[in-house]
């Protein structure tokens, strides 16, 4: 191979991957500019804080924002403790070769790969048709449905299950950054394992739990498929007042406004602005997670 030929090949081998990397940046910028340009004009205070009006052709999206908020709060209250405990088990208690640990790790990986729509089916089949209907039969026995129908509780639990691997991975990563010396020092001072975990490991991995929680919220706020038939509603005149109520949600609102609103062209602004709100929300969440993780990684080096 001549030197020039090699140089040309080298330039190609370098520039093609660089081009693709640049392409990703361009795609992201293009999608974002389109959505910002389309939605910025309609993004007013009244839009954020008002309810849909005139048969969803005017007004705001406050109920959808509120519903999304409630969804992720209930989801986190359930998901973050379970995820944290699983991560503590995996990194502190289980020996990596034990069958149980490998089983759980496999389960977490599988859970991460299950399609969102299958979670929706599971929520319908398990939470609504099995647990909910079972509760109705046991507590009410009047032949009517109270819990055996879509509501915010079942939607949140379904979403908690979907985001569980996100929490586990983030917390485990944080626990790994707690130096071994700290643990050993604690144990050497006579503290038991649980005391060490409680007083040394957990306080040092609070950031990780926060990151996990935030990432889970970001993921949960953006997923629509699991709530399609476990609780999201097209339109509600009232905010959800209890766990057995249905709710409106940002992502679902985008979907129905883009495909089922009475006048698709007239509501273009609402659609773009709703998309922008959801996008800004997930960005804010993701960036705070990135920031926290960055601080965490810095700790390992120093």
């Amino acid at each position: 191979m001549t030197k020039t030929k090699r140089n040309i090949l080298g330039a190609i081998a370098y520039s093609v991957p660089a081009f693709f990397a640049l392409m990703i940046v361009a795609i992201v910028l293009y999608v974002m500019t389109t959505i910002v340009a389309g939605g910025w004009g309609s993004l007013t205070m009244d839009f954020l804080l008002g309810a849909p009006e005139e048969g969803m052709t005017k007004g705001g999206i406050f109920p959808a924002i509120f519903g999304t908020f409630l969804l992720v709060v209930i989801m986190s209250v359930v998901g973050v403790p379970v995820g944290t405990m699983t991560a503590i088990y995996l990194s502190e208690y289980a020996s990596q070769r034990s069958v149980l640990a490998r089983l759980i790790r496999f389960a977490v990986n599988t859970l991460a790969g299950v399609p969102a729509i299958v979670f929706g089916l599971f929520g319908l089949g398990f939470f609504i048709q099995f647990v909910g209907a079972g509760v109705d039969k046991a507590l009410y026995d009047d032949g009517l449905l109270h819990w055996g129908q879509p509501n915010i509780l079942w939607a949140s639990l379904t979403m908690a299950l979907l985001t569980l691997p996100v929490v586990i991975v983030a917390v485990e990563e944080a626990i790994k950054t707690v130096p071994r010396e700290l643990r050993e020092a604690s144990l050497a001072l006579g503290a038991t394992k649980w005391q060490t975990i409680r007083k040394v490991v957990i306080p040092n991995s609070i950031t990780g739990m926060l990151t996990g929680g935030i990432l889970a919220v970001s993921r949960g706020a953006g997923e629509v498929a699991p709530i399609l038939f476990t609780g999201a509603a097209y339109f509600l005149p009232h905010l959800p007042g209890g766990l057995s109520d249905q709710f409106m949600e940002l992502g679902y609102h985008i979907y129905i406004m883009a495909t089922q609103s009475p006048d698709v062209e007239a509501t273009r602004g609402i659609q773009y602005a709703t998309t922008l709100v959801l996008l800004l929300l997930t960005f804010a969440l993701n960036f705070s997670a990135i920031f926290l993780r960055y601080r965490l990684r810095k700790r390992i080096i120093t």
Partner: protein, 273 residues
Amino acid sequence: MKRFIATLLLFTFTPSLFAADVITVKGSDTMVILAQRWAELYMKKNPNVTIQVTGGGSGTGISALINGTTDICNASRPMKPGEKQKLKHRFSSLGVEIKTAKDGIALYVHEKNPVKELTVQQIKDIYTGKITNWKQVGGSDARIILYSRENNSGTYVYFKENVLDDEDYAPSCQNMPGTAALVNAVSKDPNGIGYGGAAYAKGIRDVAVKADEGAPAMMPTAENVKSGQYPITRFLYMYVKSKPTGAMKEYIDWILSEEGQSIVTKVGYFPLR
């Protein structure tokens, strides 16, 4: 900000605190906007009644009626024997049917499409795949692109049973999740055809429909739909478990009154008479 507080107050205090009667309405997405308008106006006039409206689809609404989770069910198609059987099993009543409005199913094409009228038979042949080129119905030489509603909608079922004579849609038919998506698709597709409730959008045009070759071509106007001369007309229904009484009776009577029926026109449907 004032708007916000008003919204919050509305949301927090309306449910059943001051209201003596709560009526829940659930069902057809086609009718959810209409039902919402009715409820809004009625509540404004009768502050002691709360009416909660949710969509979900005709099937969902009828299931809710059967399960006892709703007082009134909206449906853009009549109840099926199987559903009536379930209702009877539960409440030993077949339920009561109330016709609340009429809906003319329009056929839309792109505004530049030269085809101005179609017979019901031609529409059937187009949607079952027997006619595939606009040339065959007097248009330009281009393939017909079919748009339909999703197969869970009352409109899909109505169109299939009444226009297609229960034959299957051609497989190339694209199913859109809502009328809006369908209208939007046709407005961007010079060779597209779609069907649905009356829609006013840029880029599309209604086709006049003839019941048969000799019949006059009819546009889906209020007059033609009301008189039943437009061939593809259907009713929009409400179902309740038993003959309405009390607050519910007053509400339904109001819907059937002139005032209630005048709202029907505003959301793109047609009054009963």
